[in-house]
């Protein structure tokens, strides 16, 4: 080992990353090299001295000052202030309100059963009831709106029942979660989340 390499290894040693045989080789070099011994002793002392520097703490009133300088509140801003600051979005919300009302009337008028899913061929539909028979398997989410669903087989996804009912046989296996949405507003949320989720993708 030459002195240049020895100095490199000294730093590794001080980092705590020099292992057995290499540490021994460094020690051996230093035993026979007074220059390196001196450098090592100086590096070690530098480390210790820097670490021992006093650590002043922040003034006692700093927390109060920091809290006092924060913007008034993150979420509690009143509706009115918010509307004033975001005129464009407010117009959009009025628009949304109109949408919601027309949506609600649609909700009340629409009485047809809807089934959504990836493997609809696995299902048997009789009247207002959807069956997933034992031994059959649906991959992906299954959604039934305004109807009944009877699960005897396997569903590899979420079951979403909107404004309807569901029954699970003992043989039923559902890997995802089961959600029942029976109120118009909940349904609206669901649709909006789907929409936003779709947009985000």
């Amino acid at each position: 080992m030459d002195c240049k390499q020895a100095v490199r290894e000294m730093h590794e040693f001080l980092d705590g990353t020099l292992t057995g045989p290499k540490a021994a080789a460094l020690k051996e070099h230093m035993l026979s090299c007074p220059d390196c011994r001196l450098v090592f002793q100086q590096l070690e002392t530098t480390d210790a001295l820097v670490k021992s520097m006093p650590r002043p703490s922040a003034p006692d009133d700093l927390t109060d000052r920091i809290m006092g300088a924060l913007p008034q509140s993150r979420k509690k801003a009143s509706w009115l202030q918010w509307v004033k600051r975001h005129p464009a979005i407010s117009v959009a919300s009025v628009f949304l309100l109109v949408m919601v009302s027309s949506f609600l009337s649609l909700w009340n008028e629409d009485t047809q059963m809807t089934v959504k899913g990836a493997n609809l061929d696995q299902l048997v539909i009789k009247g207002d009831t959807v069956y997933l028979p034992a031994g059959h398997k649906v991959n992906g989410d299954l959604m039934v709106k305004r109807g009944k669903i009877q699960v005897d087989g396997e569903l590899n996804g979420n079951l979403i029942v909107i404004d309807g009912t569901y029954a699970l046989a003992s043989t039923a296996k559902i890997s995802g979660e089961t959600r029942v949405i029976d109120q118009a507003l909940q349904w609206l949320w669901f649709e909006m989340n789907e929409m936003v989720g779709g947009l985000a993708k």
Binding site: T45, L49, M53, R74, K75
Partner: protein, 196 residues
């Protein structure tokens, strides 16, 4: 990851000011100490701490809860300090003569303008030497040395904070250490080392 800080940050995000105050209490001393050593000045350090928490507060929505809160706040504070140091550097040559002449140059101006930053904390003569040596570290070594030695961050954490590979952090720790050693040896004739 289930650190107390992450939970507090999530609460603060929903507008819970008490949770945020707890975060301030947990981190203000660390941030103050970091800024104090980076800038060598208590007044500026307080500014940085205030600015750091303000940024944390207004950016809580952007905090990634999968990341350690400490890494995030150290990054904000360190960047603010580095910016401040950069702005402080005069962009003219230090050797240039003052416009008024009389032989005064920027060096002497800086020297006379230098406040005694450590007035609140009494330092021994040796510690005063160390303080000056740390102050004189080039910026890129200074942040690494301070995070490593005075904030006890691991090399990996420093890499995360400064957004650089661990190997670079390591090299900078080594160079910084070497810089300090040479400084202490040349300026004080190795006297500092005899204390141990």
């Amino acid at each position: 990851m289930n650190y107390v800080e992450t939970r507090l940050a999530k609460l603060a995000r929903t507008g819970d000011r008490r949770a945020f105050a707890e975060l301030v209490d947990l981190y203000k001393d660390k941030m103050y100490h970091l800024a104090y050593r980076m800038l060598g000045q208590s007044h500026e350090a307080e500014d940085i701490v205030q600015e750091t928490f303000l940024r944390v507060y207004t950016n809580l929505d952007r905090y990634d809860v999968n990341q350690k809160f400490s890494t995030w706040i150290y990054r904000i504070a360190t960047n603010l300090c580095i910016d401040r140091l950069r702005k402080r550097k005069p962009n003219y040559s230090l050797d240039a003569e003052m416009p008024e002449g009389e032989g005064a140059d920027w060096y002497s101006l800086l020297a006379s303008d230098q406040p005694s930053p450590e007035s609140e904390v009494m330092l021994s003569e040796t510690q005063e030497h160390i303080r000056r040596a740390i102050d004189s570290l080039p910026d890129k070594y200074k942040s690494v040395v301070i995070l490593r030695y005075l904030q006890d961050l691991s090399l990996q954490e420093i890499g995360d904070v400064l957004d650089m590979p661990v190997t670079t952090v390591k090299t900078r720790v080594h160079r910084g250490r070497e810089f300090l050693r040479k400084k202490l040896e040349s300026e004080y004739g190795g006297k500092v080392f005899e204390t141990k």
